[in-house]
């Protein structure tokens, strides 16, 4: 089929854990696991499939219809484990509740059912204690264990047993099940997430937050299509595809697949265009029939591969009305057959694919589906062929098996690559010293750098400058500021220079501390001859040392590691904040009442535009108690106590909760800090509107919205409202922020720091002072 049989470097034993496994199973995840297992094995990987003795999704999940034990199936080893008894009534009761819920009413991280019902759902799902015992005992013998899909017992109970080597391919849909607490716990526990499509990735980000970014990879899904037209069926029963003009629905004819919307839309289309000969053909298994030849709806029932290929080839277009798809194989099959598709706008994975490819249309309401059918009916064959070609070009890139398997292999190779990166850098341990009376922000900066170095496999040892000197020539990072005194840093140390008063406002572009300090630039002066060793923690610090004639330093932003959010946020808080109100957010130091007052006035103005809104002010870093008290006085004076949430001393989970639900981040703060909050907002995909400080220009200037003038606070409020309500503008800002945050990523920071130690051993050429990051 593809690839050689030679064993690739990434081919440690691979286990695929899935509830059902067999060649005749028709479900999307079942077909995916079958094909994936065979493709990986054909590529030379040793693959075990760990599955249950249950015969299929539509059969009794407590019945062991297949023999348990191990069997060799071609290149695969299939191990089947017995399922255990379950309370089907209890499961059905909870399942009915979950199915009846409207996904639009779901709140992120909030369980759609009570704890007891959720427990009944997990425990009476398809479960195999024998499989779990095997994973616990033998899981360590596999290099990589892939679980799919997310919803069933083998994943929910099996994955946590082998989390350190577990990859989850969730096949995620935006459905109430995805909001169950154990699903989130399983996603966060997995070592890696493999997603079928960009849309599924976006959905996963929305549901589980930026903690999953570093461990997620979009692998796509391989789709095989029948290539030989001679093998296509000429007819399907009495229906002859080549002689008909029809729109095709291919798949389970089930209300859960939103077929009634398509059928209703087709009825509407027929009412509008009674003379049209366009028909709707439904092909696939069905518990009930929607066929009605008098209305032009033809139900062909289940079809074989040859019939499917003929139906796809001759169709006018394929309709996929389902809103619960993580990939939708049929739209790729349609594109590979050169036919356009119509998909549901509310299904992110399919809608994203159509938008990216241009290979069809999106529709949501019954009226818009009817309009899409009219458009198809009016389009010439050439136009439909053109759309089909666009779709095909996209499908060939996303869904060809060699490309898909290569992406799986790259995911499995991640760990060896990290080790190889570490091997390239001889530095194993770094001594870190702060040479001045550090404030809270500097301490956070140093700790974040140490944490990021630790993630890169480099141990950091906190010490004094004197201790660093004693340990020379051990690599050292020394944090300096204009107030540093005492010993100069050890020879060869990398110096990170901090502005003197990062939380005080700069005026007219002049540094916060433009008066040279008595003991200024001790360490910086010492190492200035080797510019590669000097970093500045903020643009203000960079300018400060440049004014003292030291050039060649580079800006080293604060390390933000999104992996610290790979867990569940504070549930009561995130639940309370999702009450239908818009959430405006400011996080930062509370050291001046001026910009807080401005923020409150902006919010007051905002309330005249959007009545249902909330402002959250979360103190982070320095907090002046007097200012904090004044803030509450202002809230009382403006009668905003019920609308503004003020908090301080929040833990990581609470910060995660407020960022996850924020609609816009506003900072009118004029002080020059480290920009930690701006970076955090960018990671949480919260559009940033910030006053144009130097740090904001550096971090947000290329992607977000900066305010050069905040005299008109009504205009600031109106801008916030436009950003919150205009989906296109919001998407543009978020896309820009995503590319910007990559540039300031902790991995890049660590690379630059480690490179500075390597460069010490190499002759360096003088360089111009650079403000951009990275080099």
């Amino acid at each position: 089929m593809n690839g050689s049989r030679s064993r690739s470097p990434a081919s440690a034993r691979i286990a695929i854990v899935t509830p059902w496994f067999g060649p005749d199973l028709r479900g999307g995840a079942e077909q995916q696991s079958w094909q994936l297992a065979h493709q990986l094995a054909a590529r030379g990987h040793a693959v075990d499939v760990l599955t249950t003795c249950s015969t299929g999704f539509n059969d009794d999940w407590a019945r062991n219809g297949l023999r348990h034990g191990s069997e060799r199936r071609g290149l695969l080893t299939v191990r089947r484990f017995r399922v255990h008894g379950r309370d089907r009534r209890a499961f059905e009761r909870v399942n009915t509740i979950l199915m009846s819920l409207n996904v639009a009413d779901m709140r992120r991280c909030v369980s759609p059912v009570g704890d007891e019902d959720a427990r009944l759902f997990y425990e009476n799902n398809i479960n195999s204690p024998a499989l779990y015992a095997y994973l616990a005992a033998e899981g360590h013998t596999y290099g990589h264990i892939l679980f799919l899909p997310y919803l069933y017992g083998p994943t929910l109970f099996g994955l946590p047993l082998v989390a350190e080597r577990a990859y989850l391919q969730p096949c995620l849909h935006n459905e109430p099940y995805a909001y169950l607490p154990r699903v989130a716990e399983t996603v966060h526990a997995a070592k890696g997430l493999l997603l079928n499509s960009e849309g599924e990735y976006e959905l996963a980000l929305r549901l589980f937050g930026p903690g999953i970014v570093k461990k997620s990879l979009i692998v796509g899904e391989g789709v095989d299509v029948m290539g030989d037209p001679a093998a296509f069926a000429q007819n399907v029963g009495s229906f002859v595809p080549s002689q008909e003009n029809y729109v095709l629905y291919l798949g389970r004819q089930d209300p859960a697949k939103n077929v009634p919307t398509l059928v209703g839309a087709f009825g509407e289309f027929r009412r509008r265009q009674p003379a049209s000969n366009l028909r709707l053909v439904l092909a696939g298994e069905r518990p009930v029939s929607y066929g009605d030849t008098s209305k032009g709806i033809i139900d062909l029932g289940p079809v074989n591969e040859a019939e499917k290929a003929a139906l796809l080839t001759h169709a006018c277009a394929l309709a996929q009305p389902s809103t619960n798809e993580s990939f939708s194989r049929v739209i790729y099959e349609s594109w590979m057959s050169g036919r356009p598709v119509v998909v549901h706008r509310q299904c992110l994975p399919t809608a994203t694919a159509v938008t990216r490819s241009g290979g069809g249309f999106v529709a949501d309401s019954t009226a818009s589906w009817a309009a899409a059918l009219e458009r198809l009916d009016f389009s010439s064959r050439d136009e439909l062929d053109r759309l089909g070609r666009l779709g095909r070009a996209y499908a060939e890139d996303v869904s060809s098996w060699p490309a898909v398997i290569a992406r799986y292999e790259s995911a499995f190779r991640t760990e060896p690559k990290a080790k190889a990166d570490r091997a390239r850098h001889p530095v194993r341990r770094i001594v870190q010293a702060v040479a001045f009376e550090a404030d809270g922000g500097t301490r956070v900066y140093a700790d974040a750098l140490a944490h990021a170095l630790g993630q890169g496999g480099v141990e950091t040892l906190d010490a004094s400058v004197a201790e660093a000197l004693r340990r020379a020539p051990e690599p050292a990072i020394v944090h300096e500021s204009s107030s540093s005194a005492g010993n100069p840093p050890p020879e060869g140390a990398t110096v990170v220079y901090h502005a003197a008063h990062p939380n005080e406002p700069a005026s007219d572009g002049v540094a916060a501390s433009d008066e040279p300090a008595a003991h200024s630039t001790n360490g910086v002066a010492h190492v200035a001859e080797e510019p590669a060793h000097v970093f500045a923690s903020s643009p203000a610090a960079l300018r400060e040392i440049a004014e003292r004639g030291i050039h060649g330093a580079r800006f080293l932003p604060m390390c933000v590691d999104p992996r610290s959010w790979d867990n569940v946020p504070d549930l009561p808080l995130i639940s309370a904040l999702q009450d239908g109100k818009q959430n405006m957010l400011f996080v930062g130091p509370i050291v001046s009442i001026d910009y807080l007052n401005e923020l409150l006035i902006v919010f007051l103005n905002y309330l005249t535009l959007e009545r249902e809104a909330r402002l959250t002010i979360a103190g982070s870093g320095a907090i002046d108690e007097e200012v904090y008290a004044q803030l509450f006085d202002e809230l009382r004076r403006l009668e905003l106590e019920d609308r503004v949430l003020v908090a301080r001393g929040l833990n990581t989970q609470q910060f995660q909760a407020i960022f996850r639900v924020a609609d816009v981040f506003i900072s009118l703060d004029e002080s020059e800090g480290y920009g930690l909050e701006l970076l955090q907002a960018m990671w949480f995909d919260v559009p940033v509107i910030a006053y144009r400080t130097e740090i904001a220009r550096e971090l947000v200037g290329d992607c977000g919205l900066l305010l050069s003038d905040k005299s008109d606070l009504l205009a600031v409020a109106a801008l916030a409202q436009i950003v919150v309500t205009d989906a296109d503008l919001r998407a543009a800002v978020i896309a820009g922020q995503r590319s910007a945050r990559e540039r300031f990523d902790a991995t890049e920071v660590v690379k630059a720091v480690l490179a500075s130690f390597v460069r010490q051993r190499e002759p360096s050429e003088p360089t111009e002072a650079r403000r951009s990051w990275p080099s």
């Binding site: 298994e285 249902e612 050069s708 896309a735």
Partner: protein, 144 residues
């Protein structure tokens, strides 16, 4: 006032929208229009009625597949028996099915009518508010 180097953002166009928005807000009369709670509540109610009618519609279709949770023992484990039973059921309940479908259609018409009425009520409420504002402004002028 706004700066951005993001290629996806047309700052000039955004500024124009912003100016218009601000001028709209400054020019509009002080409004006391209550929240559109009535409309929201009504729509939620109508949506739930529509959801029930959809369920009824789905359940009124002809069943062609044997339910997995009933009758897997003999003779219902035999395919022919299942098919005959399904056909028999479809025949026996044909009239009932037509009644059900007619009721569902009637309910959907009701839903559609209700939606139109809610829209009309909203328009009327808006008109009343506008009249009230105009009258209070006129009263203020008379008092002066």
């Amino acid at each position: 006032m706004i700066e951005s180097a993001n290629d996806g953002i047309d700052v000039d166009s955004l500024m124009a929208r912003l100016r218009k928005r601000v001028s709209d807000v400054r020019d509009r009369p002080q409004s006391h229009v209550p929240l559109n709670a009535f409309s929201l509540r009504s729509n939620v109610f109508v949506n739930s009625v529509e959801a029930y009618s959809n369920i009824a519609d789905q359940k009124s279709q002809v069943r062609t597949q044997w339910p997995s949770n009933i009758g897997s023992t003999f003779p219902f484990s035999v395919g022919v028996v299942r098919r005959v039973s399904l056909k028999l059921l479809a025949f026996l309940f044909k009239d009932q099915r037509h009644v059900n479908q007619a009721l569902v259609m009637a309910l959907r018409e009701q839903v559609s009518l209700n939606r139109q009425l809610i829209e009309q009520v909203e328009i009327l409420r808006h008109d009343v508010e506008t009249l009230r504002t105009t009258r209070s402004e006129a009263d203020a002028v008379v008092e002066r």
